[in-house]
């Protein structure tokens, strides 16, 4: 089906609606990497088999991850015109019990996590399902937007995650997908850049650079040939959410890229995906294929004169390749060593042409901004950081998973209300944000509100949104050693201060951990850190001493404990 105009788009939307809300029961099974890691594929098999052997008429659909990773595998059962029931921690033994209840539309109450009676979709409005009577079997199952993990979230980027089949373009269109593209193609490219600028969107890859400025400078750069790059390198350990975007909702990223290319004047985009992200790669390839089939990508998009292609590149497993100039080298087939800037990629990037490189999440924000307008968007978030941020909660936290909150949400709220506090009876000791390049914040900083500038002032950074929580059993010197070791391995070796200096830091940490540390070691570590920060060419080197510095600053007593 080729989509050439808005009436085609509404037809596609109707078709998608039919898939999302069929006349029979629809069963959603989350099958992202994280779900499969917990055995969701076996649950899926059991459901399909059970349905066949029981002769039931139901659609079984593979969806992405809804972020509730702590209760995976997640299965949702949605009888026609009834509320959806979400089950968590489903085992193979539970499957026959769930299926047996299907005929009578019964609910397996002790397994049910939430009931979904209405869904508010940012782009396509509210969808209500019939209510269950408040008394009776269902009353002690909470409505989905009242469960603790979701209550305080604001899902814009994750709006369809875990709801639609990521491999079906029609389901994405059903919830308002590609309408932003249609709208954008009716606007002047400059207007789009202006909207993005006005929205206050900042790059989600770590630096927080205003996206609109970057787009503008790339648009104004000389040359007819320009490129777009979507950065899904995700080398930062402890996160895993860039993978999730592509696995749960690849089309929203793709739509953002197409709009961006039109606005900037690029005819080709490259999506750089880390190498072991198999499911993400497969789903994104499918999205590109389907969009091309539907006429939303490729030649004469949506019947206009605008054409573009999207290429997918697999990386090679190096952290430094996430850095933009290194990533460009990598796409060019060279080794991923960072280069001196300027010239910035917006002037001289991929193949020497002006290139606009943004993070996946940045691209995923674009359709929403175009659809809802920059003033709607800039009303969300804090003073200087607009919109929402997807954050991955990991480490010793009770409810690990992927969440989305407004910029400026207090850290405390994220930890306690959403994350459920520290797991077990332990207490929070430290929070690591921004990956290894960020810093380790002590628990007393709980009051902090999360945005780019606040975390920077606190001596860490937001990075791409990973938060790893550490409980009071954690030895911070070990953590510092762990991250320093990471940088020793990941330094590309181009500049001496980074290659050699970080090794010296590691040597000293090893001495300290072996019980041979001296009081002078701490000032020595700080002294070595200084030139590494000053003289390294790229941000990898410049931030490599961060773990050591921030642990010395906030957890000096941990160091002293190791000293005789």
């Amino acid at each position: 089906m080729k989509i050439k105009n808005s009436s085609d788009l509404s037809k596609a939307k109707k078709k998608g609606h039919g898939l999302l809300f069929p006349d029979k029961t629809r069963i959603n099974v989350g099958t992202s990497t994280c779900c499969v890691a917990k055995g969701a594929d076996r649950i899926l098999d059991a459901i399909v088999q059970g349905i066949t052997s029981r002769n039931l008429d139901a659609d079984v659909v593979q969806v992405g991850c809804n972020g509730l990773c702590h209760i995976e595998p997640v299965v949702e059962v949605h009888p026609p015109a009834k509320p959806k029931i979400m089950y968590g921690n489903v085992t193979e033994e539970d499957v026959p019990r769930i299926l047996d209840l299907l005929a009578t539309e019964g609910i397996l109450e002790n397994l049910a996590v939430a009931r979904v009676e209405e869904e508010e979709h940012i782009l396509s409005g509210k969808i209500k399902y019939a209510f269950y009577p408040t008394s009776g079997t269902c009353s002690n199952i909470k409505p989905v937007n009242e469960i603790d993990f979701l209550k305080k979230q604001h899902r814009i980027i994750l709006r369809t995650a875990g709801i639609i089949n990521p491999e079906n373009i029609f389901e994405y269109i059903a919830l308002g997908g590609y309408e932003a593209l249609e709208k954008a193609l009716g606007m002047k490219p400059e207007e789009i850049v202006h909207e993005i600028t006005k929205s206050g969107l900042r790059g989600r890859g770590g630096g927080g650079f205003p996206a609109g400025l970057k787009w503008k400078s790339c648009r104004q750069a000389r040359g007819n040939e320009k490129y777009i790059i979507c950065n899904v390198s995700e080398g930062e350990p402890g996160i895993g959410m860039h993978r999730s975007f592509l696995e749960s909702d690849p089309h929203s990223v793709l739509e953002g890229i197409i709009i961006g290319a039109y606005a900037i004047g690029a005819k080709a985009a490259y999506v750089y995906i880390r190498d072991n992200y198999r499911i993400a790669l497969k789903r994104f390839q499918k999205a590109v294929h389907d969009a091309t089939e539907a006429g939303l990508l490729g030649n004469k998009i949506l019947g206009t004169s605008f054409s573009m292609t999207v290429n997918i590149k697999e990386g090679g497993g190096r952290f430094v390749c996430g850095e933009e100039t290194a990533l460009i080298s990598c796409i060019e087939g060279k080794i991923g060593e960072p280069h001196q800037r300027p010239p910035f990629p917006t002037v001289k990037g991929l193949f020497g042409k002006p290139t606009c490189i943004n993070n996946v999440e940045t691209w995923a924000n674009v359709p929403v901004i175009i659809m809802k307008g920059s003033s709607w968007y800039s009303a969300i978030g804090s003073d200087k950081s607009k919109g929402t941020k997807v954050i991955s909660l990991a480490g010793n936290i009770a409810r690990a998973g992927m969440i989305e909150v407004d910029m400026g949400t207090p850290l405390k709220e994220i930890i306690n209300d959403i994350g459920g506090g520290i797991e077990g009876d332990n207490k929070l000791k430290a929070i690591q944000t921004g990956g290894p390049s960020g810093g380790v914040l002590p628990c007393k900083m709980e009051e902090l509100t999360v945005d780019y500038d606040n975390l920077k002032t606190a001596g860490s950074m937001l990075g791409s949104g990973g938060m790893v929580f550490m409980d009071d059993n954690t030895d911070m010197v070990q953590i510092a050693r762990y991250f320093t070791d990471f940088f020793v391995n990941e330094s590309c070796g181009k500049c001496v201060p980074c290659r050699e200096g970080v090794c010296r830091l590691l040597d000293i940490l090893d001495e300290i951990l072996a019980g041979r540390g001296k009081k002078e070691d701490l000032p020595l570590l700080q002294e070595i850190a200084e030139p590494i920060i000053q003289a390294s060419a790229c941000a990898l080197g410049k931030t490599a001493p961060m773990p050591v510095l921030s642990t010395i600053k906030h957890f000096r007593e941990d160091y002293l404990k190791h000293m005789p």
Partner: protein, 300 residues
């Protein structure tokens, strides 16, 4: 009149020439031709080149054309196929790689001349069929002198036991520019399981990228493997969350399997991108969370 001496290839070529002459005339023609050759060689050993030039310049038609064809100096319809002429479809199996190995033994100055000659012989052997590994091997056996022969045959034996068509197909799909290199290497590794040196040199030849450049790339990126991997491949995550969530427990299980009889390779990696399920391991390309992983590991 100068005595006629031979260089090995010259003698071979002459023998071939004689084979092409109808038997009845052979005895009669032989001394005549040797006379002409002796004059041409003028005291030096006669090379195959001397023989060819004699055929081209001293013989009358139609004998000339017949012999040129018989020696496969030219195909009936056109020029001799050349290994340069990217017509890789005429090569099957490892034959093209073998041919290149053979040529590499020839001193560089003479390589171009030899390329044509050897191709001619192979072409004749193949009799219109695509060139096979056997064709190349028999050419080495028949016309290459020692010590080159042994050295070439030894190199043939060292050729990887993967199907070189994998490389041909991969390159055909992705093209030979440097920005395709990562795709090519990933694809080859997916098919063969690692990147054998032979595969890298084949890629180097075909894409005209220095082997050292390719080696630089392969050793820079951590996902490329230069050595065969076990039947099972375990990647243990040492990322932040997994580190915190104590993979020690898992490590013991993994240790047991890796040291046991199941042919398993262990690789410690950074974050596998599944941190909210930490601790995780990847086994044969699929990620398992702690409990699932234990079950799977013990089943290996």
């Amino acid at each position: 009149m100068a005595e006629l001496t031979w260089s090995p290839d010259g003698e071979k070529m002459f023998e071939k020439l004689m084979e092409a002459v109808p038997e009845a005339m052979r005895e009669m023609l032989k001394p005549k031709l040797m006379e002409i050759l002796a004059a041409r060689a003028a005291g030096k050993p006669a090379t195959s080149d001397t023989v060819v030039r004699m055929v081209r310049e001293d013989l009358p038609e139609p004998q000339k054309s017949v012999l040129i064809q018989a020696l496969s100096l030219e195909k009936p319809g056109g020029k001799v196929p050349s290994a340069n002429s990217d017509s890789s479809d005429q090569w099957t199996g490892k034959s093209q790689t073998m041919f290149k190995i053979m040529l590499n033994e020839v001193p560089e100055a003479m390589r171009e001349v030899f390329r044509e000659k050897l191709l001619g012989v192979i072409c004749q052997k193949a009799q219109g069929n695509p060139f096979s590994e056997d064709h190349v091997i028999s050419v080495v056996h028949e016309i290459v002198p020692e010590p080159f022969k042994s050295s070439i045959l030894k190199k043939f034996n060292e050729l990887g036991d993967f199907d070189p068509e994998i490389i041909d197909k991969t390159i055909a799909r992705h093209g030979t520019t440097q920005d395709s290199l990562m795709y090519i290497l990933h694809d080859i590794q997916d098919k063969i399981g690692y990147l054998p040196v032979e595969a890298l040199s084949a890629v180097s030849n075909r894409c005209d990228i220095n082997l050292s450049t390719i080696y630089n790339i392969v050793t820079f990126y951590k996902s490329f493997k230069l050595h065969p991997q076990g039947k099972h491949h375990i990647k243990q995550c040492c990322g932040t969350s997994c580190h915190l969530k104590d993979t020690n427990n898992l490590s013991q299980e993994i240790e047991k399997v890796v040291s046991g009889p199941s042919d398993t390779t262990l690789e410690k990696t950074l974050c596998l991108g599944c941190c909210d399920c930490a601790p995780v391991v990847e086994i044969d390309g699929r990620i398992y969370n702690g409990e699932e992983a234990k079950v799977k590991i013990n089943s290996l």
